[in-house]
Symmetry: C2
Subunit: 499 residues, 2 copies
């Protein structure tokens, strides 16, 4: 092992706290931390606590100590349960952390966490620096999302001078009581040719934001280490608790389109006669079925997103799409108002937890785009929240795309007249689910606002890796065929020739 690099030199000055001093200070600190846990439970934000570092047994000891100092019943410990899930390993690295985010009012504890997973992946798969930097970018964006969502993010890197680290690993190897704390993996990482240390420094530098800074803690003396971390936690949570709860104000919809709306470019007169429709439907469904089976075999997953105003024809289009997909690998997920658990977390949480495994298909009837559609138009969130959502959504979708997931997003465009016609026709259907509610007509008052919001959405989230397809949907047959054709094209492009 080489000498420690510059970034960590400041954590090698020999800090110590003596035993009496320690005992005295933690007595006070414990009361403070416990009371903070109690106060936190009443508040609308959560705390994410990350303990990482080259000193793995030190990190385990910190965790043990925090469980002892604080009320373990209200610490969500994601150590025992976060690593080595086969389920996790099949999804984007960050999915496993997104799904384990604490709800408002709680503290989530992570050992190693996303920095360790990223480092480990880079080492195991021997990534070049460009790939590693992309992964670090995702990490930084993940932390930014949390902070923007009012989560307190606290990150500690426990550092040991290399000579001390080596000595402790040797000791641990011999001692049956402590050797559990070093995983086999640690030996490999730190006995590596020094590359791990370069990657660690790079990670700390690239993910050291103002909102979620790294606390690099000298770990040689455990009194100093535990006290430093405990105090930093108490300080950060204390400061946050002292801030008054955010008052989010509903704001009337504002927005305009400079120049032409993207939606106006959709030719709503497009139509398809029944015969052409019938023959194309059968052909495209058969073709899509072949491709979808091949995608399943190849481990390529698909996410289909359907958005559009009420009565735009999402349900019917989804039905034709789903009929072509292998039903044993397909799930349809309708998105409505968030439930209690969802409201207590970041709005993307309920989508991160539904990222498909390789080879599976997920069809969303409405989606995360609700953030920039209904939530924006109806003034359910502060303007800053939907304004930053475009970037958050692009980042989410980039994560999926990087993980070999095909994204197809459909906006079904209909005219205001056509919607009215369909509402009126619904009164005559034998299907109760189509019986109208007063809401349906009330929503029509916001027609123009939804059109502007949809324009902004398409303009800002149609990326090369997750493009929007705008469908002329006044004619249902036309829209349905376009959906199938788009799906076929996307799969064919990805898979090449499939028979």
């Amino acid at each position: 092992m080489n000498e420690s690099s510059g970034l960590f030199a400041a954590a090698e000055v020999g800090n110590r706290v003596d035993k009496e001093d320690y005992a005295e200070q933690i007595a006070e600190l414990r009361v403070e931390l416990l009371n903070q846990q109690y106060d936190l439970r009443e508040r609308k934000f959560s705390v994410v606590l990350l303990i990482a570092g080259d000193d793995r047994p030190g990190a385990v000891d910190v965790l043990r100590t925090l469980h002892d100092w604080m009320d373990a019943r209200y610490l969500l410990n994601h150590v025992a349960f976060s690593s080595d899930h086969a389920e996790d390993s099949e999804r984007p690295v960050l999915a496993r952390y997104w799904r384990r985010l604490p709800p408002d009012g709680r503290i989530g504890l992570f050992l190693g966490g996303w920095p360790s997973s990223t480092l480990r992946t880079a080492l195991e798969e021997d990534h070049d620096l460009a790939t590693y930097d992309v992964a670090l970018h995702h990490v930084a964006q993940f932390e930014k999302s949390l902070v923007d969502d009012d989560t307190v993010v606290l990150k500690f890197w426990l550092h040991l001078p290399r000579a001390v680290l080596q000595e402790r690993m040797e000791q641990a190897r011999r001692d049956p009581q402590t050797h559990w704390d070093f995983a086999q993996h640690d030996w490999e990482v730190f006995e590596h040719d020094g590359r791990a240390f370069d990657l660690i420094e790079r990670m700390v530098l690239h993910t050291n934001s103002v909102e979620a800074p790294w606390h690099i803690v000298e770990s040689t003396d455990f009194h100093y280490r535990n006290l430093t971390i405990g105090r930093a936690i108490a300080k950060a949570i204390g400061q946050r608790l002292a801030q008054p709860p955010l008052q989010q104000q509903a704001v009337p919809f504002e927005g305009e389109i400079i120049g032409q709306s993207l939606l106006d470019q959709v030719d709503l007169s497009a139509s398809l006669d029944t015969d052409t429709y019938d023959s194309q439907l059968v052909m495209l469904q058969a073709r899509l079925n072949q491709l979808a089976h091949a995608a399943n075999q190849a481990g390529v997953a698909c996410v289909f997103v359907f958005e559009g105003v009420d009565a735009a024809g999402k349900g019917g289009a989804i039905r034709r799409l789903v009929k072509a997909l292998p039903i044993q690998h397909t799930r349809v997920i309708p998105i409505g108002a968030p439930n209690e658990a969802e409201r207590a977390r970041h709005y993307l949480w309920r989508f991160w937890t539904r990222v498909p495994k390789p080879g599976k298909n997920v069809v969303f009837d409405r989606s995360w785009y609700g953030r920039v559609l209904i939530e924006r138009v109806e003034g359910l969130i502060a303007p800053a929240a939907w304004q930053r959502a475009y970037e958050e959504i692009n980042e989410f979708e980039a994560n999926l795309a990087d993980n070999d997931i095909i994204l197809a997003k459909f906006w079904l465009q209909i005219s205001e007249d056509e919607q009215l016609k369909r509402f009126e026709a619904r009164a005559d259907t034998p299907y109760k689910k189509y019986k109208l509610t007063p809401d349906d007509f009330r929503n029509r008052e916001n027609w123009q606002a939804y059109q502007i919001a949809a324009h902004d959405m398409v303009a800002r989230t149609s990326t090369s890796y997750a493009p929007w397809t705008l469908l002329a949907a006044n004619n249902k047959r036309h829209a349905r065929i376009q959906v199938l054709q788009t799906a076929v094209d996307l799969l064919q492009n990805r898979l090449g020739e499939v028979r």
Copy 2:
């Protein structure tokens, strides 16, 4: 392959429905099914739909058909996502189905499901009939739990005469369009020496209850098969929807203890001085730590349950226990009032989803016993619900025990005076979480009711595989040492000598 056995002979009579008749009947059926889905969403029960059988491609076709007939957005399809999860395979077979139960108002669809998993396990692990029968008993009890909780359970077994099955498998093998529908596994099962068919018949016989009967459906003609299943679904859901919602009445607590209460046998004068406590604590924690590490290595999981009245000392006892357990393998879960998602499902759902993986520890601060304690005493559920809970709980715990999970259940017994003393002392602590609420004193009015409920609970759920330990907890030191000693004993008994 041999001739079909007697049970299935009735499904080999050559039922057919012609094409025109089919088209005509499904038009009506679809309207009925869609409207039922719509009505169901307003109701407080769910539907569990199981499609299983020797005709696997037929089962996939039924699933596809149901997605086409009904509103796919409100079908929870647990095909794509329920099999082959590594996470699942480490837990009791039924855990994967418990965690995927639909909430009230929804239909959950399972392909193969728990009968297939049970059959597969028996074949793969070459179980003898006694072991198989235990598994079938768990399956039957699982279904009974669902039905008792007002879930509509519909089970279809799709049957093909063996000659037809063989022919179709041969065909499928050659046809690239359908061979996906037979998994490799199917070839193995059905080309087996006929043992599979004996086990299937045994399963159908053993799990054919009045509440959750098997519908054995002749699968040779797909019109007949799909129509039969569609109609059976519409009939069952329609009948259930026609029943008025259950009116559960709160009932004032009633109960008495014949003879002596088990709790009175606890000698509340038991106590431990500080010096003895300090030395035993250190010794037992060290010993437990060793054992827990060994259990982790051996893949033995532990579930610790703490129950007792307020201020009985659960929190302090848990803290001493957790300090001894390897924190990277331990989670503490406090149980309070159920949240929205939990209220929409069977009360055991939130515990089945928290069953530990091999080698992990879960500590419950309050637990599923809330059903027979607070929910009974406060009249939150109908008497029939808590009365059958004892059996349900014993069954749940038997599942855990069968899966190599150690269960330790602690009831911390204190006197009424001691509780009052502790409440009064809390006013002086610097910990806000101990500040009293008026509820605390109100709950004291029910002291005797809780004592009776606790007696009944211990009497009816202290099994050989999941015994209760009654702790004299007026002296906290005494109770804490007993907890640690019990944990050490249980682990030692299981693991033998560990150093």
